[in-house]
């Protein structure tokens, strides 16, 4: 017996939520001073114009000598490609060293902070350290501590990234320690193992793959973060980007941005496939386990 359609559930909460968001949006837009909202409609056209100039730079013959402002004598488009690539490698090296520092310091600390492995009340102090570091932007470590000590060098950038990575990596590592199966730990302890032996035999093998995947993910994050430190003066691609775009040399900016995009995408792809391999095993044993979800980055940087 067909009856009338059931009544649709109330949409009131969703509507109220939407209205609240809209109110917040308008409030924030009104509060934003000296925003020059009238310039907004012109932005797409302007940006498209710059993109066209950037594309011209990319499409130019690398042996040709560019004309116009900001060209050092003897520079060709090829020189610009080369400088961008060279500085990008600087940034990647900075990010890698930062990740190595962060990983090697956060790894032992995480064992002293996890609920199931930490020997004592020490863990509250170390958790506090992780959370504290995570709340401070990496730029702050750079300008308050690393640049004064190491000067305007990539070393300062690598150190800032390294210290900053301790917070996130420490938190993620301790979470993966807490997620292990307690069985092996009990077994090893029952056979009279010391604390260090328990960690090595029962804990590390269980959490290492996941932790290594986090390290690689952090490396990808650090590559992007190193650009910021470059703008501050730590060298690398950030310095080139800020000089070139700041002086509105759009042809050169196009070349530099393209190098950044291509190199970053390639490194990301390599890193993602290594991460996948670490988590799921080699491609031959992947069958049957492939539907395990990869760790979402959202849990990684949060």
């Amino acid at each position: 017996m067909s009856t009338t359609r059931p009544k649709a559930p109330s949409k009131l909460p969703a509507t109220l939520g939407m209205l609240g968001m809209l109110a917040l949006l308008i409030l924030c837009a009104v509060m934003l001073e000296r925003a020059n909202w009238d310039r907004l409609p012109g932005v797409p056209g302007e940006v498209l114009g710059y993109l066209a100039k950037m594309a011209e730079g990319v499409a130019s013959d690398p042996r040709a000598e560019p004309t116009g402002r900001g060209v050092a004598p003897g520079d060709t488009y090829g020189t610009w490609w080369w400088i961008a690539f060279d500085k990008m490698i600087d940034s990647i090296a900075m990010a890698w060293i930062g990740t190595v520092i962060g990983a090697s310091l956060s790894f032992p600390l995480a064992f002293l902070a996890a609920n199931n492995t930490a020997p004592g009340p020490l863990r509250f102090a170390i958790r506090g350290l992780f959370n504290g570091i995570r709340a401070i932007p990496d730029l702050v470590f750079a300008i308050l501590v690393m640049l004064p000590i190491f000067g305007l060098t990539p070393t300062a950038g690598a150190m800032a990234l390294g210290v900053n990575s301790i917070g996130t990596l420490g938190k993620l590592t301790l979470e993966s320690i807490e997620a292990i199966d307690p069985g092996p730990m009990e077994a090893v302890r029952a056979s009279g193992a010391t604390w260090l032996q328990t960690m090595r035999v029962a804990v590390v093998p269980q959490m290492l793959p996941e932790t290594m995947a986090f390290w690689l993910y952090r490396f990808e994050v650090n590559i992007r973060a190193s650009a910021v430190l470059g703008v501050l003066g730590a060298g690398g691609i950030g310095k080139v980007l800020s000089d070139v775009i700041g002086h509105r040399l759009w042809e050169r900016a196009g070349i530099t941005l393209l190098v950044v995009i291509v190199v970053t995408v390639i490194v990301d792809q390599i890193s993602a496939s290594v991460r996948h391999r670490i988590i799921h095993g080699s491609s031959s044993s992947r069958r049957g386990r492939a539907d395990e979800p990869e760790p979402l980055p959202v849990t990684v940087t949060a």
């Binding site: 001073e33 310039r39 702050v140 308050l144 004064p148 000590i149 703008v231 995408v265």
Partner: protein
């Protein structure tokens, strides 16, 4: 039982490390050595230049709390009320930029993510959109800030636009992955009832990914508060403008007071957003 206990033999030999473990260790060591030599990484300044750095650090360890006052003390005749309130205005601007950019970015991201998943869009479209999104994500937030500041004049609007694009890249990627993993049941039901592509997305896909999507949105909002400390450095508004100013003047005591304020704000917003996110998912 009568079976004799197995006699205790020597410990079994430890299996040798596999080829991928060896390759992994060798490449980690190799890349590290390459990176260290490439940028001349050296910890030597830690003991040769500690005094030089220590001057700054000592100043930073004594924050100038007076700088945080938004009123003029009665006994200070030279105090300028507009200068006093500048820091707090910049902080408010940071919050406004973050709200506007996360909302705009997330709205764009919803559309993009529907185009970036083969559940909701045709294959060729998905391929193009995915390439576009990974290009967008490969640039750091500061690059967008530089571009928009150069294209418009410095101010908060370039900051909003830069973070909008940055947020769109992140949220679209995460949401499209959630769309890939939705339960196919409702989609089949919608198809069977003759839904158009748009109806199918609206009734069968979006409601399933909505909690995740909202949680990602809150996550980028948290990121934006931190990011605006950075983008202000290149003229894109927010608290970074003040940091840049005091950094160039070498007022490290003021900087550390600002840093403490940012720290408190970030922790407070993180805690709020984390409780919200826990309730969503």
């Amino acid at each position: 039982m009568s079976a004799p206990a197995p006699t205790r033999t020597a410990r079994p030999r430890k299996p040798p490390p596999g080829p991928s473990a060896i390759l992994g260790v060798v490449s980690i060591v190799g890349i590290t050595i390459f990176a260290v030599t490439w940028i001349n990484f050296s910890l030597a300044p830690l003991y040769t230049n500690l005094t030089g750095g220590w001057v700054v650090i000592r100043e930073a360890l004594q924050p100038d709390w007076g700088y945080l006052r938004w009123w003029c003390p009665a006994d200070d005749a030279g105090c300028n009320p507009t200068n006093r309130i500048r820091l707090w205005k910049a902080l408010l601007e940071t919050f406004n930029i973050a709200v506007l950019a996360s909302m705009a970015g997330c709205v764009l991201a919803m559309g993009m993510s529907l185009l970036a998943s083969s559940v909701s869009a045709p294959k060729p479209v998905v391929r193009v959109v995915k390439v576009f999104l990974s290009a967008v994500r490969s640039l750091p937030d500061i690059a967008y800030a530089l571009i928009f500041v150069a294209a418009m004049s410095p101010g908060p609007l370039p900051g909003v636009l830069a973070l909008t694009i940055f947020n769109m890249g992140i949220v679209a990627k995460l949401t499209s992955e959630s769309i890939d993993a939705v339960n196919p049941g409702p989609i089949e039901a919608a198809d069977a009832a003759g839904a158009t592509r748009w109806q199918r997305a609206r009734t069968a896909i979006v409601p399933q990914v909505l909690p995740n999507y909202l949680s990602y949105s809150l996550y980028v909002f948290e990121l934006n508060i931190r990011a605006s400390a950075v983008i202000g450095f290149v003229g894109a508004g927010g608290i970074g403008t003040i940091i840049n100013l005091e950094f160039n003047r070498g007022n490290y005591d003021r900087l550390s007071a600002i840093v403490i304020v940012i720290f408190v704000v970030v922790v407070a917003l993180d805690l709020t957003s984390q409780t919200l996110r826990k309730r969503l998912v």
